[in-house]
Amino acid sequence: MKKLMLAGAAALTIALSALTPAQAEYKAEHRGGTMRLVARSAAGTLDPQINYTLQYWQIYQSVYSGLTAFKKGAGEAGFEVVPNLAEELPAASNDGKTYTFKIRKGVKFSDGRDVTIKDVVASFQRIFKVSSPTSGGFYSVIVGADACIATPATCTLEGGVTGDEAAGTVTINLTRADPEFMFKLAVPHASILPADTPTTDAGSVPLAGTGPYFFSAYDPNKGLTMSRNPHFKVWSEDAMPDGYPDVVQYDFGLTDEAEVNAVMNGEADWMFDQPPTDRLGEIGTKYKDQVYINTLTAWWYAPMNTRLAPFDNLKARQAVNYAIDRKALVNLFGGPVLAAPVCQVLPPGFPAHVPYCPYTKDPGEKWSAPDIEKAKQLVEESGTKGQKVTVIVEDTAVSKSIGVYLQSVLKEIGYDAEVKPISPNIQFTYIQNTNNKVQISVSQWYQDYPAASNFLNVLFGCSSFTEGSDSSINIAGFCDKDVETKMKDAFALAATDPVAANKIWTEVDRMVTDTAPAAPLFTPKHIDFVSKRLGNFQFNAQFYWMVTQSWVQ
């Protein structure tokens, strides 16, 4: 198994990750045709204010727009925020607590109606009325949000979001300065929808948007169709460029093996799921011109419960970090082409990331080899030797192999370890709930937007921990006074001096890494396997492949 993966990975190294320059001119000769995408299954509700999956966030990019957007450019250009339905990014006033957006005129929804101030105000209320997953997180900084979260049905955001029809502006007041607010406005949960959109989860009924496409049909068991929005006119190449294919047909239901076959046979233009490892060799050699590999700003990590023995002991946690052979894990994931070892929280390429690796043979910037001797010694010193430890992993091939590997490492350094794989759909909520008494588990985190707090504060902030709840993303239950104060400092500084704030985030990263509430495992990479006819592939760091920026003829 391992050998096969390695062979596949070696073959993939040949594959190119070509990047075309950002902002290429629109080439009318490629316009038209039907692009067919395939995925194992649908990703839930189509409501852009509720759906919280990368699968749909990727395609929302050419359907819904917010006041701001992440730039539709290749690579890290995607981390840049640009104005979208707002004419420009407003400067903050009132100590960073007030933003006034001038709303673009002449933009139409796919049902032909104009985007008005009313729509914008209503859309912000709707975030709370439909209990969007991030309403209590991202948008709780808006004035009046507390009342809206408590009683969603009567949400008005009084004093928080107010429109001025005459001036064509919308003013948003925050309870505190939030340097990440522009990012938060750019994610699909803040999409602007018509004011009369029902204030319940739209589910499988498509809602009107403002992008170059609209959803013309959706059946979660069969597929999703995107057609051209006849009312679309380009208002910003950066925020909302026009697309090439006339129709994008997204079909659900094939297994990953069948998806690979379909792309190879030219029956599909792209597969959403990652190709199975046994096909990587073939893909990397025979189809190397059709593969794109990109590093993700994400991590695989093993959170350790800091409120439960043995990992309530700092030395025990550090021991695990020293003992893990990250190279072995990378190989389990598919080899160096598909992952890179990591021993800190912030992924490479992320704001505030400065290479740091204390848990290796020769501590420094890079991980080189595990230090088993040191680990054994730390376990000895901690007095936790011989304790029982259960590793909870997802019941998938990769996660299970990682779990079994962790078991062997834990055994080697002196614990009585076992692995418990559970269904992938339960595992993520199961490991969060303190009632389940999970000691160590394997999980992943993908960024929502490019800000250091999206890893550090979300995963290790005191406010992300809720006892006895399935939604307690601080899986390690980590709450450290010093770290918390530092994060507060960083937040406070970010509004005025983002560069200095990022320096503090770098320190926070080190502090968290040193106190080891989790064992960082590796940074995953992403494979896009496309059909022969697909042209102009561009990978955006924020929302991945820009679907409609590619052409099929």
Binding site: Y52, T134, S135, G136, A202, G203, N265, N425, S471
Partner: protein, 323 residues
Amino acid sequence: MIFSLLQRIGQMLFVMFGISLLVFLIFFATPGADPAARIAGRNASPEVLEAVRKSFGFDQPMYVQYLTMMKKIFITGDLTSFVNRGWKVVPAVMDTIPVTLSLVFGAAILWVVFALIIGIVAAATRGSWIDKILMMLGLIGISMPVYWLGEVMNLLTQSRYHDTWLFSWVPPLGYKNFSDDPKGWFLTLVIPWITLSILYIGLYGRVLRAAIVESLQEDYIRTARAKGLSETRILLRHALRTSLVAFVTLFGLDFGALVGGSALLTEVVFGLQGVGKLTYDALLNLDLPIIMTTVLYASFFVVMANAVVDILYMMLDPRVRTA
């Protein structure tokens, strides 16, 4: 007659009630199965989690949740999925039935025809090398797991030999509606039909042969021989007819179960959006409303198929009629 019909309906309701209760209780007894957090989305704040819990009625007592779900399935028909929110479950299941029926009917025709041929030929030539080869092939057919066979078929027809004359006619995986494209419907289903039926051809062929061989020892066959009937007539009119009782029993059960969703592995491998695949996806996602609906639907079909089998018995075997 009316009494036995009522009895049947009573049995069916009882079975369906028992199964639905079991599915419901198992779901909520599973640790970590609480759907609220998964519905709310990752990193939802406690208040949002509470709002979702309330809007889906998870804060109600269990029996109320159960009754609400039953009401939404049978009376209002507006039960929606926990995973693909807003997706109405009953129409979704209804949509998948034609796919499963197309798959299972086609496969059933194949397996009945070929099993009859194999069973009769093997029984007629019992002991000879033809019999031995047929039985051996049957055993091989039974031993091949259907998902493995399906993947191999896919490997051959969709990948390795897709561009050769042999399999270039095989369309991409997925289902095409009969009404839109009859030819496409047929072509996409040929490989799945063969895959699904191979196991049953082997099984039924072997069962039929054994039954015929056994009934050839019966007294009435000796009587028929004594009357001077030809061997062919004895085999086809007398021995085969009673032997079909076992065949039909098996067929009823298998057919019912397959229509009810047991063809799920075949459906998954070939990307056919049938009842089985719907159930499979729902199980992966722990989507209780869909699991509940498809399980009820399946139990309905199994009970129905059994009733039909009982009636067929009476037609086939005169001894059952008087009993």
